[in-house]
Each structure stands twice: as C-alpha cells, then as structure tokens.
C-alpha cells in the first residue's frame, strides 16, 4: 500500500476568500458539543469534499478555525460540522442561530484512504471528538458496503455524557458484518458498557491484520498508543492512517503555522500514513 498522502484538488476560488453560507441547524450533541449544518451556494466547490477533509469556518468579526467536516460526502446540498465549544470562536460558532451567516473556505487537506481500503476490512479508531472527522468515512463505507470486508468502529470517550452520535453509533453496531464498540474513561454506576482506554477494545476485534486498514483520529497520545498497539498486533504500519491536529491558519500550506517536520498539516495532512508521521509523533512541538 502506498504511504503517499491523498492530495485533494484545490478549491476553485481564491483559497483565502470565504464563502458566506447560511446556517440551517444547530443540534446539541453533548453538554459542550454541537453539530452545525450549513447551506453552501448550489454547485459551489466548497461543498465537494472527501472524507477526512476540513474547512476553515469564519465567524465574522470574531475569528476563523479549522473544523473537520462530519457529514455525509454524498449529500452536496449541505455541509455538516461537529464543534466542541472550548474557546471564544467555537463558542461563537455553536451559539449561531439558523439563518445566521458564517464564512467557509475549503475543503482542505488529504482524505481517508477509502480507495486503498477497498477489498479489505476497515478498523476505525476514534477518540473523543475524533469521531467527527471519521464519520464521513463511515458513511462512505456504508454507502459502498460491498467494496469492503468487515467494518469495525471503536470509540473511546471521557464519560458516557461525552459520547457523540449515540443513536447512530448504536445503529451501526446492528448492521451486518459491522462491529461498533465504545468505551469510556470513567463511568457512573448506571453505565453498563466498557470502561477503559480505547486500546482495550482491540482484543474484541475479529479481523485479519494483514487485510485490514486502520483509520485513527483523536488526541495525539491516544493515536500514538493505538498505532503502536495495532502494529504490535500485526497490522502493517503502511495500512495505519492518522489524522493530525495542528494550529492551521491559511489551510493551503502558505503560512507555516501548522508545520510538522517536513509537512504542513493543512496541505500534506491532516490524514497521514503512519510511517510518514511516526518520527514526529513523540515530539512535543516543532
């Protein structure tokens, strides 16, 4: 399997020019996380994305942030983003109302290796809000289910109240040839599911390592441990992909804010093959 990134075609408009889009809905997922759906202009390239890519969302007069697209790539008339409110710009984003306008640039970055994974099993490993950038890949796999073998979705979260897309996740687990397991770091006494770090779910996975492609997204520490553990379990490193997070500003590899070793995460990532990014995973900051 190639370890090359999956470079996307650049957006047709000037990359630094935001497109005004109207917010259709804001849905509360958890106590601090919301899903926004926006309506891009019909036919605008801003809406043509590959699973794993992100947009730059601009709250006018407040600031701009990179946000992964979390919706179905087959739905072109809307774009979906899941945003955790942890700062001024994200707070302003999630408190917008339907009908308000925000600016969008993108889509930017590389995508999950869905073509390379055809004919193989797919192991999705998500941590926290890392499930959001993986959801478009799950939608795409489910839409083309015959192209893939087993689908396993492992999801780790801080506590039961932090779990995203709960109903949808439960429904995935009921699909044929699909395994969906979640675990939390801490559970209340009423929680009947798994408690422990996401890597503890690996032993429940039934698949052939050589015939599996893993896609991992979550906090960097979690991704590092997950990738190491999968490698120890026989998954070829070139078949492990991670989505990296850095301080992305321009989205097009101009400004250098998101540089990681020889890469600009916004342009060469965010999705990397493990061998590409492994030397930089242990570094505090470059």
């Amino acid at each position: 399997m190639s370890t090359a990134s999956h470079a996307a075609a650049p957006p047709a408009r000037p990359v630094m020019e935001p497109v005004p889009v109207q917010i259709r809905s804001v849905v509360k997922e958890t106590h601090d996380t919301f899903t926004l759906t926006v309506a891009p202009p019909p036919g605008d390239p801003v809406s043509a994305f590959e699973p794993g890519q992100f947009s730059m969302l601009y709250v006018f007069g407040v600031g701009e942030l990179p946000i992964s697209i979390s919706g179905d790539p087959a739905v072109r008339e809307s774009l979906t983003y899941t945003v955790r409110s942890v700062g001024q710009v994200t707070y302003q984003l999630v408190t917008r109302r339907p009908g308000d306008y925000i600016g969008i640039r993108g889509p930017f970055g590389t995508s999950w290796p869905l073509k390379e994974a055809r004919g193989k099993s797919v192991l999705i490993v998500a941590g926290g809000i890392g499930l959001a950038p993986l959801r478009p890949a799950i939608y795409s796999i489910l839409r083309h289910r015959g192209d893939y073998n087993r689908l396993v979705i492992l999801y780790g979260s801080r506590s039961p109240r932090d779990l995203l897309y709960r109903k949808e996740f439960a429904a995935w687990g009921l699909l044929p040839d699909t395994q969906a397991l979640c675990t939390v770091d801490y559970g209340g006494v009423s929680w009947r599911g798994y408690v422990g770090v996401v890597t503890t779910l690996f032993r429940h996975v039934r698949m052939q390592p050589q015939e599996t492609v893993a896609m991992i997204c979550g906090p960097e520490i979690m991704m590092r441990y997950a990738a190491r553990e999968l490698e120890a379990r026989g998954l070829p490193p070139a078949q492990i992909y991670l989505s990296m997070e850095r301080n992305m500003k321009c989205g097009a590899g101009f400004c250098g804010h998101c540089q990681l070793g020889p890469y600009f995460v916004c342009k060469h990532g965010p999705v990397f093959a493990y061998p590409e990014i492994k030397p930089y995973l242990d570094l505090y900051e470059l």
Binding site: V83, P133, Y186, G188, G196, I221, N247
Partner: protein, 158 residues
Amino acid sequence: MAPAEIRNALASHPFLEGLPEKYLDLLSKLAFEVSFGQDEIIFREGDPSSLFYLILSGKVALEIASPGRHVIIQTLEAGDELGWSSLLENTSKQFRARCLEPVRALAFDGARVVALCEQDHEFGYHIMRRALGLVAERLRATRIQVLDVYSPKGVRAQ
C-alpha cells in the same frame, strides 16, 4: 465444573497461556468455580485480599468511591483476571468489584498460590511474571486514563 473442565478452562485462559502442563495440573487442584448474579458485589474496597479470579464469562466493574457516589474506572470480562492483589501479602482490596452481568469465574486462594510459589520457584516465576505483565498493562492503561486526553485542555478545539 468437573476437574477436567476446570483444567481445560485454565489451559484456554489468556492469563495462563503457555504455562507448562505440570503447573496447569497443580493449579487445577486449587481452582474452584464461582458465579455471581448481576449487580452482586464480589469484593469491597478495604476487604482483605484473599481470592484471585480468572473470569470465564460476564462483565465486572471495578469501582472506586468518590464523595457521594461510585465511579467505574475499569471493566473486566472473559479472559481477564480479577483480584491480583491477593498474590501479595498483607494487602487489601483497592476497589469494589461489582457484576454488570452474571459472572462465572475460576477462583484461587491467593495465599495457597503464593505458598506454592514459595515451594517451587519455577512455578512462582511463571505466576509472578504473568502477574507483573498484568499489573504493567493495568498501569499503562491507568496512566493514559489519568492524562484525561479527551478533556478540552488536552486537545485542540475542533
């Protein structure tokens, strides 16, 4: 369970994978089957450590008391071990173990296992090596848990 079933269950338990046959025979004589109902407490925090369990089926929550409530910090199930502190002397249970589902397990008197370890150091090496691996695995998982990697401070806003 008949003695032969106990021996088979021990031989197929991940904790004892690769243990020489003669030691499986030895442990078979010490093991006895136990079962617990849903929500039954297997042991409480502070209880003297006496039994060591190899879980055959079901799910157990390890819980710790925090002011006004219990918090589940780990779940264990078939293929896991419970109560490793009984392999140490003069210790008490650090957590409460509660069954989330009906549980079947093989139990050992920790003191008798330790006595056998003292008598036969090769046997002791096999057991303690496995126990060390188990503790190391739990420690690694706990370290990642306490890092609280999913907290807002631990990750960049998305």
